[in-house]
């Protein structure tokens, strides 16, 4: 039993390595389908195929005024939820926890992910669904006095409790993860990234 367990662990480790041959990865997809594995493994679900475009039956509504600033359409499809790669995102008026996202500003992965709140989920100019996000405002003291900064592998940081009035369009593929948020005072909240990829954990200054 121990030997077979170790071989299984070795095989899984090999399958998750970037240099694993594509042919072997294809075998994994077949095995997962054969044994009914369909959980949260994103290698099974093609993220580009799942709910990224609005349904054919979706009805367009008038564009909210604050959204009109960067979406040049009169009418668009607005949604309360969006499921992508097995993860549910919501607008903040529907479910605050599911609206809290860490994302790369302008999709630039060389920058650190920042926290925001999804205000709208809408169909953009290009026909794909996107988020209109309010930024969490950073505290104007460059991290000084932030007790969470003392722990480099604990990805939490203090932010202002206020969210920006201005909205920013965020594409789904720019989103890194959800985050946890706790108001430790009226002015400040602690934001804890729930991304579990080691590169995110190693970049504590969100």
């Amino acid at each position: 039993m121990l030997c077979s367990y170790l071989k299984g662990a070795k095989l899984r480790a090999w399958l998750s390595r970037p240099d694993c041959p594509q042919a072997v990865k294809e075998c994994k997809v077949l095995l997962d389908q054969a044994y009914g594995v369909n959980g949260d493994d994103t290698t099974v679900i093609d993220p580009l195929e799942e709910y990224v475009r609005p349904l054919d039956t979706a009805r367009a509504t008038n564009m909210p005024p604050d959204l009109r600033e960067f979406v040049h359409l009169r009418r668009t499809v607005l949604r309360a939820h969006l499921r992508h790669a097995g993860v549910v995102f919501s607008r903040s008026s529907t479910n605050v926890g599911n609206s809290q996202i860490m994302f790369y500003p302008s999709g630039d992965q060389s920058l650190r992910a920042v926290p925001g709140l999804i205000k709208y989920i809408f169909e953009g100019d290009d026909g794909s669904m996107a988020f209109a996000v309010q930024w969490r405002e950073a505290l104007g003291r460059n991290g000084e006095g932030d007790p969470f900064a003392a722990y480099p592998h604990f990805p939490a940081k203090l932010y202002s409790a206020r969210a920006s009035e201005k909205l920013e369009k965020v594409k789904i593929l720019w989103v890194v993860s959800h985050y946890a948020c706790w108001a430790i005072s009226e002015e400040e909240v602690v934001v804890l990234s729930l991304c579990r990829v080691s590169s995110c954990i190693s970049k504590p200054r969100l």
């Binding site: 662990a9 899984r12 993860v87 959800h178 579990r196 990829v197 954990i201």
Partner: protein
Amino acid sequence: MGKYVVIISSLFVKPCRQRREMPLSAVSGEHPSYGKKDVLKQIHDAIRETTMPSWFGLVPRNFGDISAGTIKADEWHSLITVYIPIALISLWGGPSSKATLKSILDHTMDLVSAVYVSCARTMTLEHATAYRSYIASYVGSLRRIHPTSNVRPNHHASFYVYNYLVLFGPVHSWWTFPFERLIGILQHLPTNHKFGELNLVRN
């Protein structure tokens, strides 16, 4: 190699000693350095008020009370990675905090950081080494920070996790949550606690 997360979470020594010695008793008495009630209240506030995405596992809101029941491995994982560190840092992480409390906080954060690094979805030699440093610091300071605590076999076993991280990569490939789930399914099967009589009944 077995119950990896249980090993890690059980290293949060105070609650585990509490469970081992007084399995059905609520937290009572005061630590010489801090008020347990204040700490528990802060953790309860963090559990109750933190906004989380719906996929994140729930934990008992009355953590530490008798009625909270046995804390499961996944609940320990949620507590030690989210609620306990933000509650403790918000209590003891400020500049005006006592040196004793700060050292207890730093010691606990060694364990929290070890869990974060080791449970990452990707693993590098650098992160495995960071895990070993955190766990060495944690176990090395245990008797100094908590003089009434003893080093347990789980503390020894936690050092081997470094080797497993190097040999097998991210813990998700080899941790035993699938087996835990299977045990849970088996435990919930209806039974009359009389083993070996199923065939007799059928015959």
